[in-house]
Symmetry: C2
Subunit: 458 residues, 2 copies
């Protein structure tokens, strides 16, 4: 096995690898919107076909939702399961994109070349770094450096409803020595990062019902209950003036960050000022007394992701609407229990309802606990050294503000530890208009995986 030749092959084949990623990015696999179900299916087909060209035993596995793609390749050494997701976030507001989100291209920017398009970073670009590393390894060495399985889902951006049933039914097939996940960001540009803790998530959504019908704000303004005013009052009641969530028992299970970890984070390369200024903020707006880093990695949140009701068109409509709507996600840390968080949130909302109002809740519930990785396993130090070699900079263990429930599920359901290595950058605008992935992330990401696979297989 030759790592150097493999890396040289990766460099030479980068244009072809990029073109393959472009093909995948053109598929409009928005999982949360049923209108794109066929596109999700097409993305799964594309991956099956591509993995088959590596000589892997690849299959599209049906689920009640979007299909799961699996593939298995023989090899010596440890059994590694790679997880990624081929589905993407919705693209609205479309008018804020500088190009069609599903017509990707390489763009020159002051900070270098980027691949622009929905999913370029989250997660199609990231998952293809691993696929391309395997492809190069096989091309140069004739076989994989380890026994490698792929487990690619199409519902990560919509709560992964089919994931747990599929894992239950195929536990033996999916259980490996270690899971590898490529869906996270580097803590700072050029600083290779292994995520060692992730926040969990609970989502919920409610409709506040007031008058039986939309009312005229002249004939009923005053006497009528206005659901927009009431939902604003309820939303405003979620936080106190220090930014702390007021829902009773919300903080049950939250621990303060140990001093030793806090000191480690302080030197990990995270640039708070850059993090805030890049999105137009001069200070952190979360709970008073915590740095932006701790607010993001180690404190829970209750965020409003959507709030709407009444007239939104051009001009004026003097309406008091019959209902108002609110979408919420909470990020969880420590031992916070997703079911308890949802229960307490709902009780808080219901306790705030005025007479003549009612609330209905979304039935499509799910949640995931926060995850802390088993960093005592030697593979973490092995991978950390391999990453440091590629990036010429010491790799670090970091927290993550996002939620990737799969790591917790691997541990809880399969007894399998996971290691999360990702090459995204904080300015990738994932979930936003103009999502991009640095060409450097893609290129050095592929090279990083080649090095990590090489190191893990020794």
């Amino acid at each position: 096995m030759s790592l150097e030749k493999t890396l040289a092959h990766i460099d030479a084949e980068l244009p072809a690898a990029t073109e393959r990623l472009m093909e995948l990015l053109r598929i409009q696999s928005i999982s949360t919107d049923p209108a794109y179900a066929e596109a999700c299916d097409a993305a799964a087909d594309w991956l099956v076909a591509d993995l088959a060209t590596l000589g892997l035993e690849a299959a599209k596995r049906p689920t009640p939702g979007h299909p799961i793609v699996t593939a298995h390749g023989a090899g010596d050494g440890p059994h590694l399961l790679f997880y990624g997701h081929y589905d993407v976030q919705p693209v609205d507001p479309l008018e804020l994109w500088n190009r069609d989100p599903f017509d990707p291209a390489i763009e020159d920017t002051p900070a270098g070349k980027v691949i622009r398009g929905r999913g370029a970073s989250d997660d199609k670009g990231q998952l293809m770094t691993f696929v391309e590393a395997c492809r190069a390894w096989i091309a140069v060495n004739g076989s994989l450096p380890a026994r490698i399985s792929f487990f690619l889902e199409g519902e990560e951006e919509s709560g992964s409803p089919s994931l747990v049933p599929f894992m239950k039914d195929h536990a033996d097939e999916l259980t490996a020595d270690l899971a590898l996940i490529c869906d996270t960001a580097m803590v700072a540009p050029g600083v290779p990062s292994i995520a060692s803790q992730l926040r969990g998530m609970v989502k919920d959504e409610f409709t506040l019902h007031g008058p039986k019908m939309d009312l005229h704000s002249g004939h009923y303004g005053g006497p009528a209950l206005n659901p927009l005013r009431e939902i604003a009052r309820i939303v405003a009641s979620f936080h106190d003036e220090t930014g702390r969530v007021t829902v009773p028992h919300f903080y049950d299970g939250v621990q303060e960050v140990p001093d030793a970890l806090l000191r480690q984070w302080e030197t990990c390369g995270f640039d708070e000022r850059e993090y805030l200024e890049s999105v137009g903020m001069t200070r952190p707006h979360g709970e008073a007394g915590y740095s932006a880093l701790v607010q993001q990695w180690a404190r829970p949140t209750l965020e409003i992701n959507g709030l709407w009701g009444g007239y939104q068109g051009a001009g004026t409509k003097t309406v008091i609407p019959a209902e108002a709507h609110c979408k919420i996600t909470c990020r969880l840390v420590g031992d916070m229990d997703p079911d308890a968080v949802r229960r307490n949130l709902r009780a808080h909302v219901e306790a705030q309802l005025p007479p003549d109002a009612s609330v209905s809740w979304d039935q499509d519930i799910d949640g995931a606990k926060a995850v802390v990785m088993n960093t005592d396993r030697p593979e973490f130090e092995t991978a950390r050294r391999a990453l440091s070699d590629e990036w010429h900079r010491e790799a670090v263990l970091v927290g993550m503000g996002g939620s990737i429930p799969i790591a917790g599920l691997f541990k809880d359901m399969l007894g399998m530890d996971a290691m999360m290595i990702g090459f995204a950058k904080e300015d990738d605008r994932i979930h936003s208009p103009n999502e991009k992935y640095d060409l450097e992330s893609f290129h050095k990401g592929i090279r990083s995986w080649a090095r990590v696979l090489d190191a893990l297989s020794r």
Copy 2:
């Protein structure tokens, strides 16, 4: 002149009159949405053609917005100017209509026959009661009972931007002895009503800007300013727990209702319980200490008509949006000054802004003071008697929660008093899905105007 023959003619011609109204209702004259500009023009054309068939000198008068229709008919007696509007409110949410809002029909309901469609009541049905009364009068008597002018605008539902300039330019043409307006409701079913006071209105709209772009609620949830949370806090700050508006100086110019007027209102036939229950409310939700009637007719409001931001589609999007939006209308009473109300509202919002947030305001501003009619004029008692004869029930002078700025403009700009007589019912769902006008309102409305014209011309 024969009133009895005219009334009989109205009865006989009701089907033809209804069919004419249907034609007008089919024209999608939504004035607030530029997409319907051609339809507004078509509605004006239809009215010009119809008024010409009465032998009136009718014309479509261009404005920078939607055209104004004028028509003049010779006659003995006083000069009366009739005002109405041919534009209608938007129709969303479309899925709540039981039929295409622009494919009107007569429907049988437990409460009798109704004309269903957008504008059936507000204001096409109402304005056509006057047109049909004139048509019948001419058909039976060969001429009008008075000198009558028509002044029909197409921007009433969108702030009437062209109205004041047009009135300024054509003051002589529009000034009559008395203005008649048919755009109000009866205080209770079968109780003929003359509106003697109307609330004024201020509209405003703002966008709260937070982060430079939409953010991921995992990577930025916590440190990021969330515009949805901030706009909710600001909206919630508009009222205290007693329902009183907290904007400083909001109540400047508001007077309490005199006891004598309050007693008169208490016996005018308004059924508070029915008014509330018909829309699903068990109690009035406005300022504590005031009845629903007083909250509606004589107290100011600050209502949210639209509130939105973030993701509204199916499923979840873990976004912190860059901005959030709010549409507001205030109803004014007494001497409240629209400009001061807007200024104080904006100052209140701006005082609530957190660091890193900014606000931008709609530039399309307008406002109208509240109006109190000159009920000392003898025409009010004359009309009251004529209406009582038609409805076999004593007609009453009432307040109105809605805003019809034209009455104040007639007084201020032309020195002309106005009398507002309308036949709408509180359950007409104007501005809402399934708007209707009772066939009885249309029929007896035409007969009422025939009687009022007869009485005023004597």
